[in-house]
């Protein structure tokens, strides 16, 4: 078991066995690899059945804390994609950049606090290597009306 998987187990999270359920539509790759860079598509907070586990907006259907939990589930989806892309989570060298799109209504502006759900999982699993530059924005609509979508650029170990 990889170091990252042990840490995941310790915080009570399990990645999905297969990234097939995360796939949203034909023609859209879940990730691409260029040399030692792994580019991950924007991912939603989906359950293991592949269905969105959160549907709604921050400031309307969801509170900040619920948004944080949705962001943690996005991280679980991303770890599943990374595991399938690299075969081993320990092949992650470090995270470079994350874009967090938060579905908001009524002027909800606690975007960093929501996106921290994603970032916290990555630092819990990868430590310092899970830290990253990040941009958040409050979107007016997201696919499936999910509360948050995150993409990432990751450096793969040489």
């Amino acid at each position: 078991m990889s170091v990252a998987e042990k840490r995941l187990e310790r915080i009570g999270l399990t990645i999905y066995g297969d990234d097939g359920t995360i796939r949203s539509g034909a023609g859209n790759a879940l990730y691409t690899i260029h040399e030692d860079l792994l580019f991950i598509t924007g991912l939603e907070p989906r359950g293991e059945d592949g269905q969105p586990a959160f549907v709604g907006r921050l400031g309307r259907e969801y509170t900040r804390e619920e948004g944080y939990q949705a962001a943690r589930l996005v991280a679980v989806n991303m770890l599943t994609v990374i595991q399938n892309a690299l075969g081993d989570l320990d092949r992650v060298d470090y995270f470079i950049k994350v874009m967090a799109l938060v579905n908001t209504a009524d002027g909800f502006s606690d975007l960093p606090e929501v996106a921290d759900g994603f970032t916290d999982v990555m630092t819990e699993v990868f430590g310092e290597r899970g830290m990253h530059a990040r941009t958040e924005l409050g979107a007016t609509n997201l696919n499936n009306n999910v509360p948050i979508i995150c993409d990432a650029i990751i450096k793969i170990r040489d």
Binding site: L37, Y94, F95, I96, K97, V102, T104, A105, G107, F108, S109, D110, L111, P112, E113, D116, T119, D120, M122, T123, E124, G127, G130, M131, H132, A133, R134, T135, E136, L137, G138, A139, T140, I153, K155
Partner: protein, 155 residues
Amino acid sequence: MTIPEHNLAKMGIDIAHVDRAGKGVLPFRRYKDLVFVSGHGPFDMEGQPLMQGTVGVDLTPEQGYEAARLAAVRMLATIKDAVGDLDNIDYFVKALCIFNSGGDFYDMPAQANGFSHIFTRAFGQRGQHARAAMGCGTHSRNVPFMVDMILKLKR
């Protein structure tokens, strides 16, 4: 518990957990000769917003330009911290400019120049960059503008 931890426990030493909750975001992350800069807005060095509001609703386009300029000023502090000496910058690669916008405000490129002009005036041709500009629904702390950037260092 691992053997070292067990031995430490016998000595009465309990290793504290390093808590990174809420602290995982870096102002920038370097990859080879590229620096990826996090989203920056019109904030002061203590993180207090210098402007708040929505361009096209309670702020004018001109105020949007000023917010973009203030975000550039704040980002330059991060960039200088990242590269040490601004002469170490080869050129700027890409910026994403995001306005908190509403009403009939569609003039994002012109007002995003509040950000871009700082770089072209300071760095000349090397300050030019590919750019996307867009409007969104909200920003952190209700600031009107956020921008991130990728820049290239000299080898």
